[in-house]
């Protein structure tokens, strides 16, 4: 009852000699009622991490328990919203405290006044299980929200509301549990953020998350339900890559977590997404997006929580049967928040000051991704794409290394590519995707039987170029035989014409798989022709002069996404130039002899 603060050290507060708190319970700290969470309980003292700035908090101020773990409120109104790390809507905070965030602001996560156009999906007498849909409402013009029975409840319906207009606090139905108690269900429910929401089972991964980014879709695909990491030093374009994925990937729902990143970047996401149209529905991108913004100068404990809040929201929409993609930018900031709090708790540090439980926390987070059979009997998936910001751009640091163990797709961003303004700066020699096997059948069936073969040839050429470049660096390219020069030229076409993608060009920012396939086909076709020309004695310099290679590099800007048949014309044009070169060579050759 009379629990008071004993000590304050940054975001860590302790209470002495109390037994009234339970682990992970949410508490209100001090006269201002700052939100905190119990992180350790001993006979002697209870330790609390506080999600707000503790400036001004005094010893002796009260600490009140809430009786429940830190939970996310899940219901209609999440989409289009922007929350802080513990699911408080930032717009409401701004309305209460102005442009600068004050402490102790209480704001309900979901709009309480907004009435939703609810269709009730159950009737009296139905027996419902956890996860079953009880009502649906259009949350935005493209997302239908399905309210569910909380996963841990089941019983028979004894009363339902009529279809109509309801807020998140109006009762929708009442069920009688097996033990005879009655429980009222609402549009919204609560779920502890640190606990994965239950599912019926996991099933295997077989569909790619189509991103429209050539280097990802073609070379290093991410699966729906998969986990990918995007590590890179500063200035290599991590955030840009995350933004591109959030804009263009073919998930139904995007959960974007800005975890310890820049304030201006979040503003940019807000601005850009409201202007952009979802390619599938033509509606503003924000209608399928929820943002969680805990910028680097917002309290560090809330940064730690933001990742869990994000994945809990993602799981909620997955349970409705949606494909959800979650971007976490950046997981390193989250790990640093763990380290900071661990330091304040005076725990024994492991590598580089990070706590010893860093790998298990990372694993627990990435394992919440997956393709599942939901409790309601449908299918849903969560794909997680986590940015990693390695200290000193050194990929051997603990966060990158541990992340690598738990993700199957590794998109390494490279400083030297970024310096040369090659974007996306994904390094093709150290990146990898383990999803080839799972996804190849999909590509072969839906895109083209040649897709995987072409990709293999392209990767082969790139690695050959890599080898040749070592020689070129030593002695220059002039001394190479023409056949190897062709390889270099084609590799350049692949790098500049295929891997480089301009996020600001309307034809290039998003490229459908079919066009990617056509581009690969055209490049490999040119390679075959150029190799044949080379054999016939046509010098590479003549091919370059005829513009064979540069022609294909510029193609990506010229052919709109909806007119891929134009590639046929391009190939014909290239064939014609090749034929001319060959004819010229033949005409010249006999004279030499």
């Amino acid at each position: 009852m009379n629990d008071v603060i004993y000590s304050v050290n940054g975001p860590v507060v302790t209470v002495r000699g109390t037994r009234s708190f339970s682990m992970m319970e949410m508490v209100y700290v001090g006269d201002a009622g700052l939100i905190g969470e119990v992180i350790s309980v001993t006979n002697e003292k209870t330790t609390i991490q506080v999600y707000e700035d503790t400036t001004g908090v005094r010893v002796g101020e009260p600490v009140k328990g809430s009786g429940a773990p830190l939970s996310a409120t899940l219901g209609p109104g999440i989409m289009q919203n922007i929350f802080d790390g513990i699911e408080r809507p930032l717009a409401d905070i701004a309305a209460q405290s102005g442009a600068f965030i004050a402490t102790g602001v209480r704001a309900s996560s979901l709009p309480v006044d907004k009435k939703w156009d609810v269709t009730v999906l159950v009737k009296v007498g139905d027996y419902v299980h956890g996860g079953d849909f009880i009502a649906s409402c259009p949350e935005t013009s493209i997302i239908t929200h399905r309210s569910m029975v909380p996963p841990n409840l089941s019983g028979s319906v004894v009363w339902t509301a009529e279809n109509g207009q309801y807020t998140v606090t109006d009762p929708i139905c009442r069920i009688r549990l097996d033990d005879g108690r009655e429980e009222t269900l609402y549009l919204a429910q609560k779920w502890p953020i640190r606990m994965p929401r239950p599912v019926r089972g996991r099933h295997s991964i077989d569909r790619p998350l189509i991103t429209g980014q050539r280097v990802i879709d073609t070379l290093f695909p991410i699966a729906k339900g998969g986990a990918a990491a995007v590590p890179g030093g500063f200035g290599t374009g991590k955030t840009m890559t995350q933004h591109q994925l959030a804009k263009w990937c073919d998930a139904d729902i995007i959960v974007y977590v800005g975890c310890g990143e820049r304030g201006n970047e979040m503003t940019q996401v807000l601005d850009e997404f409201s202007e952009l149209e979802d390619p599938k529905s033509g509606k503003p991108m924000t209608e399928r997006t929820v943002l969680i913004a805990n910028t680097s100068n917002m309290p560090v404990a809330a940064r730690e929580a933001s990742i869990y809040t994000g994945i809990t929201l993602a799981e909620y929409y997955r349970d409705m049967g949606y494909d959800v993609a979650m971007m976490a930018d950046s997981t390193s900031r989250w790990a640093e928040a763990l380290r900071e709090i661990s330091g304040r708790l005076e725990e024994m540090p492991a590598e580089e000051g990070f706590p010893a439980y860093l790998p298990s926390r990372l694993a627990a987070f990435y394992e919440r991704a997956g393709c599942v059979d939901t409790l309601a009997g449908g299918e849903g998936s969560i794909s997680v794409i986590g940015a990693v910001s390695p200290q000193g751009s050194d990929f051997s640091e603990p966060v990158t290394q541990n992340t690598k163990r738990f993700v199957r797709c590794f998109l390494a961003l490279d400083k030297s590519l970024a310096y040369a303004r090659h974007y996306p700066a994904i390094n093709w020699t150290i990146s990898y995707s383990e999803y080839y096997e799972d996804l190849d059948p999909y590509y072969e069936k839906n895109i083209g039987p040649d897709f995987c073969r072409l990709r293999g040839r392209m990767l082969g050429l790139l690695s050959e170029e890599n080898k040749l470049m070592e020689i070129v660096k030593l002695i220059g390219s002039d001394v190479l035989p023409d056949s190897q020069k062709v390889t270099l030229e084609i590799a350049r076409v692949i790098r500049v014409g295929f891997l480089q993608q301009n996020a600001f060009h309307k034809n290039d920012t998003y490229v459908p798989l079919e066009k990617q396939m056509w581009m690969m086909d055209a490049i490999m076709h040119l390679y075959d022709r150029a190799a044949a020309l080379c054999e016939a004695g046509v010098p590479v310099s003549a091919m370059s002069a005829a513009g064979l290679f540069d022609r294909l590099i510029k193609v990506k800007y010229e052919i709109p996404n909806d007119r891929v048949q134009m590639f046929g014309d391009v190939e014909k044009e290239l064939d014609r130039v090749c034929d001319e070169l060959l004819a010229k060579q033949k005409a010249a050759a006999p004279q030499k002899e």
Partner: protein, 457 residues
């Protein structure tokens, strides 16, 4: 809180501890009275009735008995009024220019609070520095934080002074432009250099200076940027001024933080810096920005000297992760006598893409910048090759790149400390240099632009 505590229970480095304290708040301001005056301090940890206080001006001369301590009940606050423009303060925000104290219009907590991301306006307009390499390739945007990564002995101070001298925003807003200068742990000479150069350029009456010299106490150094940014926020968001904050040297600041952290007995992170260095930096850098519905803006140019020129050192590394780009100075260029010695390839302005082009600078700006980056990147390949096989053996196109590279460095980068170029002059010079290269090498420019500009400047 009128209660006064007599005596201290522990003195350790810059920290003192008092037992039997009641009702002290975390981060509250504390006044310690001694026989020869008053010192300021701040509560940094509370445990039961024990309060740990860091003393801003150091603990030398303090004794356990000769001190009486009063808790103010408030966090550290700075007195603010429009008249602070043109004044000089010490690191704790007290005037040191002999003009008396500020008659405060209001007080503000120097720790500030985070700008709500939904209240931010995305920065879109640029600040012209008159320096070709910055304006063209690493454009500074209002509301941005763009650090200069330098090394000891390089000309970062000269560059900062030149930026202050030449920085302009568009004409109609020119009157509302101000500078907040924050010196942390700089030598007396450097502080004088800045004061003199502001004076000579007539900028002094729009500069607010916060000066903590290298001989001043380190605790005060931790407060200096907070005072400076509080002043900047006040001028920007309440007086509607466009404020450029120059902070030098962040390395001294971080070292002060490390010193304090180790005297508190905290677990060190990388290279002995505290684990919260990132969050601490962020609490400073993130105070740059533009707020919806308010007139002004806070733009930051923090300067840091990379220890041993190492960009992966925690200070530049963590800074780079928070700031929106960086301007990197290069020792090789510096030794070549090129000023400003900006190494353009690792330099970057993240916000530039939305603040340039038609309506801001010039329609061809983005493309020219891209092409200059791409072409200059090839120069280093050609130079690498030349160092192995000799310049004579290079192909004709590689030779052109070499001469492009040399002229780019001498003419475009090395404009000198007294040249103030308009954006048109800089872009035209860019075109002039690009025209050294064969037209088909310019992959990033489309035909229309090439027709219009190639070989025409």
């Amino acid at each position: 809180m009128a209660m006064e505590y007599l005596g201290l229970d522990e003195i350790n480095g810059p920290l003192v501890a008092l037992d039997g304290v009641e009702g002290a708040g975390y981060e509250e301001m504390v006044r310690l009275r001694t026989a020869d005056g008053e010192r300021l301090g701040r509560v940094i940890a509370l445990e039961g009735s024990r309060a740990v206080v860091q003393v801003f001006s150091g603990t030398s001369g303090l004794s356990l008995d000769g001190v009486s301590t009063r808790f103010s009940g408030k966090p550290m606050e700075l007195a603010l009024a429009p008249e602070i423009v043109g004044r000089i303060f010490n690191g704790a925000g007290e005037p040191i220019d002999g003009l008396g104290s500020v008659y405060p219009e209001k007080f503000a907590d120097v720790n500030g609070s985070a700008i709500n991301p939904v209240s931010r306006a995305y920065p879109r307009n640029y600040i012209r520095t008159g320096i070709s390499s910055i304006d063209t390739l690493i454009t500074l945007i209002r509301g941005q934080k763009l650090p200069i990564f330098s090394g000891s002995g390089m000309s970062h101070n000269r560059l900062a002074a030149q930026i202050v001298r030449q920085a302009r925003i568009s004409e109609e807003e020119g009157a509302n432009f101000g500078i907040v200068f924050c010196a942390m742990g700089v030598t007396k000479d450097v502080a004088d250099y800045f004061r003199r150069s502001f004076e000579e350029s007539g900028a002094l009456n729009r500069v607010t200076m916060f000066v903590n010299l290298s001989s001043d106490p380190i605790i005060e150094r931790i407060l200096t940027p907070r005072c400076a940014l509080t002043a900047a926020e006040y001028l920007a968001f309440e007086q509607n001024m466009h404020i450029l904050v120059i902070m030098t040297d962040m390395t001294s600041y971080a070292e002060a933080l490390r010193e304090l952290s180790s005297s508190k007995g905290e677990i060190p992170g990388r290279k002995g810096y505290p684990g919260y260095l990132y969050s601490d930096f962020a609490s400073l850098y993130e105070r740059a920005g533009v707020i919806k519905g308010r007139g002004g803006s806070v733009t930051q140019i923090p300067i840091l000297t990379m220890p041993n020129d190492d960009i992966t050192h925690p200070i530049p590394d963590l800074t780079g992760y928070i700031t929106e780009g960086q301007i990197v100075l290069d020792r090789y260029l510096d030794q070549q006598g090129i000023y400003p010695p900006i190494s353009v390839l690792p330099s970057l302005s993240r916000l530039m893409k939305d603040g340039i082009g038609e309506g801001f600078t010039r329609a061809d700006h983005a493309d020219v910048a891209n092409q200059l980056f791409a072409s200059y990147a090839k120069v280093s390949d050609a130079r690498g090759l030349a160092s192995v096989i000799g310049e004579e053996e290079l192909s004709a196109s590689d030779k052109l790149y070499l001469s492009f590279g040399d002229r780019f460095e001498r003419e475009f980068l090395g404009q000198g400390a007294d040249t103030d170029r308009t954006i048109d002059q800089s872009l035209d010079l860019g075109w002039h240099l690009l025209s050294i290269l064969p037209r088909e090498e310019l992959e990033r420019l489309d035909e229309k632009l090439l027709d219009e500009h190639y070989g025409k400047h």
